[in-house]
Amino acid sequence: MAQPAVSGTAQWLLAAASDIAARVDVLFFSLLALTGAVAIAIFVLMIVFSVRYRAGSRVDRSNPPTNVRWLELGWTFTPLAIFLGIFVWAAVVYARFYTPAPDAMAIFIVGKQWMWKAEHANGRREIDELHLPAGQPVRLILSTEDVIHSFFVPAFRIKQDAVPGRYTSISFTPTREGEYWLHCAEYCGTDHARMGGRVVVMAPAAFAQWLERGNSNPSLAARGFELFRRNGCSGCHAAGSSVHAPDLAGVYGRVVHLADGRSVVADEGYLRDSILLPKRDVVAGYQPIMPSFQGQLDEGELAALISFLKENK
């Protein structure tokens, strides 16, 4: 691979560089101890029986048991109880991936054959690299311009597919400074193995410096505001417009009641669908008159628009 050797990844023990990595490791090694003990117990029994009861050995073979109900019930329900415990434990840790802290920093990540593009809130962009501040909760919002990709950072123990036509997201807090591998984990075509790079976790002050340095782009929200006007969104959605369209100030995170009786939370995915498939989730009390912007906005522009809507309180 073209990438330089990445520091912070010892060969035999994978670095744990996020808050969740530590929890995942505790679960992993606990389960390893448990299953290892079970495997060794079974293998020891098999070997002991094989040696002791080999043909020709002189041992007591009277009345070999064929049905021992208490034993069979025991080894049915004991594992069941243990398994359900593991299930709950793993599910609780899993939920954290999808539970962003209130102050989580949102970063848009776009996959494309065969590169990862990242865009920070202030407009700073990077390719095949992702800089993060240590100790700051992060929420990655993933999308893709072509096929399914999967954002995989082993040192963080995170992996999330980017699915065409929608957003997915995953949240964590990087904890240890260093450079870590970034891979694509979902097969995506010829150069799948080369799609990746590194994640750089920096001290917060150094990160702030990095974020400003060499950034000539307007912030995502500013670019979104520009797009909001240029594409004519403001013509209908501005307060006082003659067209009957929902007011979008503070829409992000609100519960929206839909025409068909459902209600949804206006998250990134909802906003995205409302722009691209406006007829699917029509807000109660409004007519489905909005045209679709499918094919007119690329992933970067969508991200900018949504960032604007989030800040437009």
Binding site: Y98, T99, P100, G253, R262, V264, D267, D273
Partner: protein
Amino acid sequence: MTYVLTWLALMALLALTFGSSYLPMGAWNSVANMAISCAKALLIAVFFMHLRQAGALLRLAACIGLLWLALLFGLSWTDFGTRTSSPAPWSSR
């Protein structure tokens, strides 16, 4: 004779499903249509396909495909049914 009566019932149900689609009932139109289709299918299975006289094994074979189809729909809907309409309380505020 059973056959002809079954056929008459089928025709009546066809008229019902056809007519009901002109009554504005919203989502209930689809429910009615599917219910009538199920009724027609049941009539055909029970009388034309002789499930009425069939043993347990044939009845089981007749049901298992539908049961498995229900599994496909039901378990997939744990995904499709909970994706947008009820996002986790914490996945966005």
